[in-house]
C-alpha cells in the first residue's frame, strides 16, 4: 500500500495497530499509514481478483508470443 499523503509504502499488517480503539473499525476497512497516520483505502477483493486474472491472461499471452 502507498500512503496518499506522504508517499510511504507499507504492508497492511504494519498499518493495522493504528485503528485500535476506533468505534467504526468494524465497518471501516481503511488502514492508517504508520508514518503520518493518514487513512489509506485497501483495494477491494474483487479488484485484486480482477487484476490477478488480467495479469495471468497477460502472462499467458506473452508466453505464447
Amino acid at each position: 500500500m502507498r500512503c496518499d499523503f506522504c508517499g510511504t509504502v507499507f504492508t497492511e499488517a504494519e498499518a493495522r495497530p493504528a485503528c485500535t480503539g476506533c468505534p467504526l473499525a468494524g465497518v471501516c476497512k481503511k488502514r492508517k499509514c504508520p508514518r503520518c497516520g493518514y487513512e489509506v483505502l485497501p483495494e477491494p477483493k474483487w479488484v485484486k481478483a480482477l487484476k490477478a486474472w488480467g495479469g495471468s491472461i497477460f502472462a499467458g499471452y506473452k508466453a505464447n508470443r
Binding site: D4, F5, C6, G7, G21, C22, P23, L24, V27, C28, K29, K30, K32, C36, G37, Y38, E39, L41, P42, E43, P44, V47
Partner: protein, 485 residues
Amino acid sequence: MSASQAEVVTYPEPIEKALAQITTLLKGSYGLSPRTVALLLLQDDPEMHDLVKEREGSTYQTIAAIIDRTRETLREPVDEAVPVARQQKIAAIAAAAVTETAPAGAALADRISRLMMNPWTGTPLLLLVLYFGLYKFVGGFGAGTVVDFLESTVFDAHVNPWVNRLVDTYVPWAAIRELLAHDYGIITLGLRYAVAIVLPLVGAFFFVFAIIEDSGYLPRLAMLIDRVFKMIGLSGRAVIPMTLGFGCDTMATLVSRILETRRERIIATLLLALAIPCSAQLGVILALLAGRPAAVLVWAGVIALVFLFVGWLAAQILPDERPTFYMEVPPLRLPRLTNVLIKTYTRMRMYFLEILPLFVLASVLIWLGEMTGLFAALVQAVAPVVRAIGLPDQAAVAFLFGFFRRDYGAAGLYDLYTAGQFDGVQLVVATVTLTLFVPCIAQFIVAIKERGARVAFGMFLFVLVFAFGTGYILNAVLRLLGVSL
C-alpha cells in the same frame, strides 16, 4: 580542512551558539561526538536527557538553561530548524556531485508543485479547486442533477407513493404503517435520506477527493497552510485530520492523536467538532446553497472566520507548546482514472454500510418519539431557540435529527428547503448553524475517549452555545443590513 569537517551541517546561529556552549560543558562519555549529544539534547531526546542528567550531575541544570534560552531565541522550533538545515546541506552536496537529466514533464510538475505551495499562487489555486471541485461538481452536478433525479423522479414520484399504498393496503396496524412509511417511515424517510440525498452527494465529494488525493495535492496543501495553522496553535500536520474530517469527523477525531502536542490535539478536536462539516453534511449544504453564489460566500466566509477565530482563541487560552512540521513532499502526478473510481467506490460502499443501519435506527427512534409524544415535546422545547435565530418552528426537527447524525440533520434541512420553508437569509442562517452545531453521537464518543469526558463535555456545551449564538448574530446582521440572498 578535512573532508569530514567540510561536510558538517551548519545550523542557524542560536543553535550553533548553544552547541558550542553545551559541548564545552559535557565531560561524560556517551559513545557519540559531543556535538551529536548536544544536538540530541536540543531536540529533546528523552533518553539523552536522562543519560546527561545522570552523568553530568549539577552541570545538567546549566545545559537545560542553555536549551531553554535557545528555544526562546529561535523563530522556529529546533525540531524543524535541524532537519531543514540538514536538507539544505544534502541538496547542496547532491547538486555538486550529481548530474541529473530530468525526465520530460518532471520540470513542469516541479514548477506546478512549487506554485501550489507558494502562498501567493497556492491560495488562488486552492480557491479554484474548491470552486470547481466542491461548488460546481458536488453542489451543481451532485445536487442539481443526481439528487434531483433520485428525489423527485425516483422516490417522490414512484417509490414513496408505492410504499405508502402498499403499507396502507396490507398493514392493518396504524403504528406499524407509520414505522415503515409516511412522514417518518424507515423506507420513506430513512432509506430515502440515505439513498436519494446523502449517498449521491458523498459520492460526488468522494470522487473529487480521490482526484485530489491521487494527484499528490494534499501534502502541498499541508505546506501551503502550515503558516496559517501555526497562528491557531496547529501545524501543517493538522491538515491530515482536518482533511479527513471532510470525509468523517469521527475518524478524523481519532486521527488527531498523530498531532505532536496535547494542545494541538485539543484544538484540532474542537475545530473538527465545530467548523469542519463531514462529507454528507458538506454535500447537502452545497446542494442547499447551489445556485446562490452570494449565499455560498456568506456561509464559507462565516465558517472560515469561526474556524480561525476559535482556533486563535483556543491557542491563546491553552498553554503554549509550539508545534513543528516538516515533511518530504512526494512527487506530483496525474491522477489515474482507475484509482479514482476504485477509491470512490470503496468509500461509497463503506459509507453506505455505515449509515444505512443508523438511518434506519434514527427512523425507529423518531417513530418511537412520535408514538410516545416525546418527539413533539422535544420539538416544542427546541422551537423557541430555532425561532430566536429567525427560522421557522419546523427547523427544530432538522436540529433534533442533527443530534443523532449530522448528515441526517442536513438531509432534514434539505426536505424543508424543497418544501419552500426558507428564504435566502434563513437558508444561510440554518446552514451556518447546522454546520457549527454539535458533533454526532459517534464523534462525541470518540472525543470523550481521546480527550477525556471533561474536555469533551466542555467542547459539547461550547459548540452548542456558539452555534446558536453565531446563528443569532448572523440573522440579526443580515436582517439589519437588509440583505437578500
